[in-house]
C-alpha cells in the first residue's frame, strides 16, 4: 500500500517461501516411553507473516548428517521460521519455552526498548521452562535481520531464524524476487562438548596445521633461511599462522536454508528478473566467503541498512552479519557457494530457472595462512622484516580520514589487564578497511571490503563524537580464554554510556582470530573512509591484529549486551553496557 507503484509492480515479494529444512517431530517429553521418535522429514516450511506470532522452543529429533540427534528448535524447524514484519507495525511475539532449561529470544539488530531485547540477566530474567514470554514492540526499521537464543549455546543447536522487514515507504532496493539465504554450521556434537574440547585442546578441530611437508615446500619457494626464520618467528611466539577457525568442518555440516550441499536447495527465477538474496550468517562460529561463480552480485544492504550499490564477485560474511545482494542471472544454473574461512567445508545451493537443474560446485580455495599484519606487526607490502611479501592487500591501507585527528576528543581510560589470559598484544595495529582479509587476498576476484561500503543516506549531519573509548579484544588461544581489555565478562564492570552522547568506539584486536563485535540496542556507524556516508551496522568484523572505529549515538535507555558473536568466545568476550541518563 505504501509502496511506490513501479516498485510494487516489479516486485513479488518473497514469492518463494522462506525455508526451513526440517519440519520436525518434536519431543514434548523426551525420554518417555523409551523408544526414539522417527527421524523428522526434511522439507521447506512456511514463512510467518503478520503482527502476532507464536513461537515454541522445543527439543526436536533431527537427522542432518546421518544420525538422529536432538536439536533445540523454534516451531519444530531448523532454522526456525522466517518472520516477516512491516515497518511501522507493532509486533507481538509469544515465545513458549518447552526446553528443560531456561531460554530466550534476542532480536538481532532490532532497535527496541531494552526489556524486549531478550538477553538473560541484562534485559530480562529469561524464559523459564514451561513459561511463555510475550515480546511486544514497534518496528522502526526495515531490511534483513535475524533472531536467536541468547542463552547458553542454544543458538548452536538450532534456536535461530531470519527476520524480513518490509519498509513503510518506498524500498530503495527494487527486485522481482526475494529470497532469504541463511547460513549455518550444524554439529551433531553437543555444543558443551565442543566448548570442552576447545578448552582442553584449542587446536582439536584444526586439521590444517603446519607440517614438515609444508616446511619443505616453503624451503623450495622461500629458500632455507627465509623459510626457517619465518617459521621460527611464529614458533617463538607459540602461535600458529594456521589458526583460522576454532571449530571446523571436522564436526560441522554447513547448511544453507537448513539444507546440506547435497540436498541442494533451489532458488528459482525467470530469465530477466532481478533477484534479491538476503544473506544472513546465523552460524555459531563460521565465517563464510560467498560467491556465485559466473555472476556479479550487487551489494545493496549491509546489516539491514541500504548502502550505495557495489558490484562484486565475492564477499565475506562474519557471524551475525547480513548482506542483501541483487543478481541478474541468465538462463542457466548457478551455484550459490559459501566456503568456510578455513576451507574445511562449504554450504551451497543452486540458483536456476528450473528445479531439475543443478549447478556444479566450484573447488574450494586453498586456505591462506595468517600474515604478520594479522598479528598487528609490520603491515604493508615491503614492511615487516621477515614477512616481506606475505601481506598483499592491493592498494595501500585505507584508513578513516579522522585517524589523524583522533585526539580531538578525549579518550576515556578503561581498566586493562595483561596476564594469563592474554598472549598477544598487537604492536602496530592498523586500520585495514580495504583489506579483504586472510583467504581473500589476491584471489583475482573483486572482493567486497568495508572500504567499499557507503551509506545510502547521508550522515553528514551526524554530530562529531564527544569522547572515545578503546576496547582491546584479547585472549589466550592456547588456554582458550577470551576477554575484552584482558578482563573476562565475569570479572568486568559494566561499560557506562551516557544518554544523548555521541561516542567513538575503537577496537584493537590483540588476537589472531576475527571477532565480529555486536552492540545491542544502538547502531554502530562504521568509519569506512567517508565521513558523510558512515555505514550503519549492528555487527562489525574486527580483523586480527587490526583496529577499527565506529560511532554510536547513545539514544537507547537501559542495559545492553556488547560482545563478540563467535559463540564460544562470547562467554568471556562480553560486556554489559549501562546507559545512564
Amino acid at each position: 500500500m505504501d509502496d511506490h507503484p513501479a516498485a510494487i509492480q516489479r516486485r513479488r515479494f518473497l514469492q518463494s517461501v522462506a525455508v526451513s529444512a526440517v519440519l520436525a517431530r518434536t519431543l514434548l517429553s523426551a525420554g518417555e516411553g523409551g523408544s526414539a521418535p522417527a527421524p523428522i522429514k526434511r522439507r521447506e516450511s512456511l514463512m510467518l507473516e503478520g503482527t502476532e506470532f507464536f513461537l515454541t522452543l522445543e527439543r526436536t529429533v533431527v537427522n542432518v548428517s546421518g544420525s538422529d540427534v536432538l536439536a533445540t528448535t523454534v516451531n519444530g524447524m531448523l532454522p526456525g521460521p522466517t518472520l516477516k514484519w512491516r515497518e511501522g507495525d507493532t509486533v507481538t511475539i509469544h515465545v513458549t519455552n518447552n526446553l528443560p532449561v531456561s531460554s530466550s529470544i534476542h532480536w538481532h539488530g532490532i532497535i527496541l526498548p531494552f526489556h524486549m531485547d531478550g538477553v538473560p540477566d541484562i534485559s530480562f530474567k529469561g524464559i523459564a521452562p514451561g513459561e511463555t514470554f510475550t515480546y511486544r514492540f514497534p518496528v522502526r526499521q526495515s531490511g534483513t535481520f535475524w533472531y536467536h537464543s541468547h542463552t547458553g549455546f542454544q543458538e548452536q543447536s538450532g534456536v535461530h531464524g531470519t527476520l524480513v522487514i518490509v519498509p513503510k515507504d518506498e524500498d530503495p532496493v527494487v527486485s522481482d524476487r526475494d529470497y532469504v539465504v541463511s547460513l549455518f554450521d550444524w554439529s551433531d556434537e553437543n555444543p558443551e562438548a565442543i566448548y570442552r574440547k576447545l578448552k582442553l585442546h584449542s587446536d582439536y578441530y584444526n586439521f590444517n596445521q603446519r607440517t614438515a611437508g609444508d616446511f619443505i615446500s616453503e624451503v623450495k619457494s622461500e629458500g632455507f633461511w627465509d623459510a626457517l626464520q619465518h617459521r621460527a618467528m611464529w614458533n617463538r611466539m607459540r602461535m600458529s599462522d594456521r589458526d583460522l577457525s576454532d571449530v571446523t568442518g571436522y564436526t560441522y555440516t554447513y547448511l544453507l536454508n537448513g539444507f546440506t550441499e547435497a540436498e541442494d536447495w533451489h532458488a528459482l527465477f525467470e530469465t530477466g528478473e532481478r533477484i534479491r538474496l538476503r544473506f544472513v550468517n546465523q552460524s555459531a562460529m563460521t565465517i563464510f566467503d560467498v560467491r556465485i561463480p559466473g555472476l556479479k552480485m550487487t551489494v545493496v544492504a549491509a546489516d539491514g541498512n541500504p548502502v550505495k550499490p557495489v558490484k562484486i564477485d565475492e564477499f565475506r560474511i562474519a557471524v551475525a552479519e547480513t548482506y542483501d545482494v541483487i543478481v541478474e542471472p541468465e538462463e542457466r544454473a548457478y551455484c550459490i557457494f559459501a566456503q568456510s574461512i578455513e576451507r574445511s567445508g562449504y554450504a551451497a545451493a543452486t540458483l536456476a530457472p528450473r528445479a531439475e537443474m543443478h549447478a556444479a560446485r566450484p573447488a574450494m580455495d586453498p586456505p591462506q595462512p595468517l600474515t604478520m599484519a594479522d598479528m598487528g606487526m609490520g603491515g604493508m607490502t615491503g614492511e615487516g622484516g621477515a614477512d616481506t611479501g606475505a601481506m598483499k592487500c592491493g592498494g595501500g591501507m585505507q584508513m578513516p580520514k579522522e585517524e589523524g585527528k583522533k585526539h580531538m576528543w578525549p579518550i576515556t581510560p578503561l581498566p586493562m589487564r595483561r596476564g594469563v589470559g592474554t598472549t598477544m598484544k598487537a604492536a602496530n595495529p592498523r586500520y585495514r578497511l580495504d583489506d579483504p582479509g586472510v583467504g581473500l587476498r589476491e584471489n583475482g576476484r573483486r572482493v567486497l571490503t568495508y572500504a567499499d561500503l557507503r551509506n545510502y543516506y547521508s550522515t553528514a549531519d551526524a554530530p562529531p563524537p564527544d569522547r572515545e573509548i578503546v576496547l582491546h579484544l584479547t585472549g589466550n588461544m592456547e588456554r582458550y580464554m577470551w576477554s575484552i581489555n584482558g578482563i573476562r565478562y565475569a570479572d568486568a564492570a559494566p561499560l557506562t554510556f551516557h544518554y544523548g552522547e555521541r561516542l567513538r568506539i575503537t577496537f584493537v584486536n590483540d588476537t589472531m582470530m576475527i571477532h565480529p563485535m555486536h552492540l545491542h540496542g544502538m547502531w554502530s556507524d562504521l568509519e569506512t573512509g567517508d565521513e558523510a556516508r558512515l555505514v550503519r551496522k549492528h555487527t562489525v568484523l574486527v580483523q586480527p591484529g587490526s583496529k577499527i572505529s565506529y560511532r554510536v549515538t547513545v539514544n537507547a535507555e537501559g542495559a545492553w549486551a556488547y560482545h563478540c558473536h563467535m559463540l564460544y568466545h562470547m562467554p568471556g568476550m562480553f560486556r554489559k553496557v549501562e546507559v545512564l541518563p
Binding site: A30, G31, S35, A36, A38, V61, S67, D68, V69, L70, T72, L99, P100, V101, S102, S103, P120, G126, T151, G152, F153, Q154, S157, D188, N190, P191, E192, A193, Y195, R196, K199, L200, H201, Y204, F207, Q209, R210, T211, A212, G213, A232, N235, R236, M237, R238, G419, V420, G421, T423, N476, E478, R479, M481, W482, R488, Y489, A490, P571, G572, F574
Partner: protein, 226 residues
C-alpha cells in the same frame, strides 16, 4: 532407528546449560604413553605408562601424574598429586606431594613443578622434589612434529638427578638417569593414536652401582585421552 545416538544426545541435551559461563569445571585424563617395550633379551615384557589427569578451571586445577614401568623382577613408579595454578600465559606452577616406588619400596617427596610451553612449542616440565634425605630434580621436554595432519613424530627427553644417594630407589647422587625416545603416532581421532618408536634409557654415574642400565628398546603403544 538409531537408538544409541538418540539416547546419547538426549542425555547431553538434558544438560544444555542456560547460564553463560566462560570457565566451566572440566576433567580430563591423558595417557600420553601406554606401551610395551622390547630390548636387552626381553621380549615385549616391559610395560610403561605415563598418565596424567586433571580437574579444574582455566587457572586452578588439581593434577594427578603417574609414570612408571614394570618388567619381570623389577618395577618402579612416580606418582604425584598437585595443585596447579596458571601464572603466565603459557606457564603453570604446581605444588604437592609425590610417592616414588621401586621394587616394592617407596619414598615420599614434597614437590614444586613448573609446567609449560616454551618458545618453539616444546612442552616442558621441570620438577623439584624434596624430602629429609635428598633433593631431586626431574626435567622433561617433548616436541610434537606434524608429518601430516594425523601423523605425529614426538621426540622426548627426560633427565633425573639427586643431591645424594636414595638407596630405596636405587638412585645415586648426581645426574642419575637419562631417557630419550622417538615415537611416531597416527591420530585416527584426536583422542586415540597408536604409535611405534624407539627409546633409549641409561643410568649415569653413581646410579650405575645400583643398576647399570644402557638399553635401546623398540616400543609400541597407544596414546589416548578423553
Amino acid at each position: 532407528m538409531k537408538t544409541v545416538p538418540y539416547t546419547a544426545t538426549l542425555l547431553l541435551a538434558a544438560s544444555l546449560f542456560a547460564e553463560m559461563n566462560d570457565d566451566p569445571l572440566r576433567a580430563t585424563l591423558l595417557a600420553d604413553r601406554l606401551e610395551t617395550a622390547s630390548g636387552q633379551w626381553s621380549r615385549w615384557e616391559h610395560l610403561v605408562w605415563d598418565v596424567s589427569a586433571y580437574a579444574g578451571y582455566d587457572l586452578d586445577k588439581a593434577y594427578l601424574y603417574s609414570e612408571g614401568s614394570k618388567a619381570p623382577g623389577e618395577s618402579e613408579s612416580q606418582n604425584e598429586l598437585l595443585y596447579s595454578r596458571a601464572v603466565a600465559p603459557f606457564w603453570d606452577v604446581q605444588i604437592g606431594a609425590e610417592a616414588d616406588t621401586a621394587d616394592g619400596k617407596s619414598v615420599g617427596w614434597g614437590v614444586v613443578a613448573f609446567q609449560g610451553l616454551v618458545p618453539y612449542y616444546f612442552e616442558t616440565r621441570l620438577r623439584l622434589m624434596v624430602n629429609a634425605q635428598a633433593v631431586a630434580l626431574n626435567a622433561e621436554a617433548e616436541y610434537e612434529m606434524l608429518l601430516t595432519q594425523r601423523l605425529v613424530l614426538t621426540p622426548r627427553i627426560e633427565l633425573q638427578a639427586y643431591s645424594s644417594d636414595v638407596e630405596e630407589l636405587g638412585a645415586g647422587a648426581g645426574l642419575s638417569s637419562i631417557e630419550t625416545g622417538l615415537r611416531l603416532r597416527y591420530e585416527f581421532i584426536r583422542e586415540f593414536a597408536p604409535y611405534v618408536g624407539v627409546s633409549y634409557a641409561a643410568t649415569i654415574g653413581n646410579t650405575r652401582k645400583y643398576a647399570p642400565i644402557d638399553d635401546v628398546q623398540a616400543v609400541a603403544g597407544i596414546r589416548l585421552w578423553f
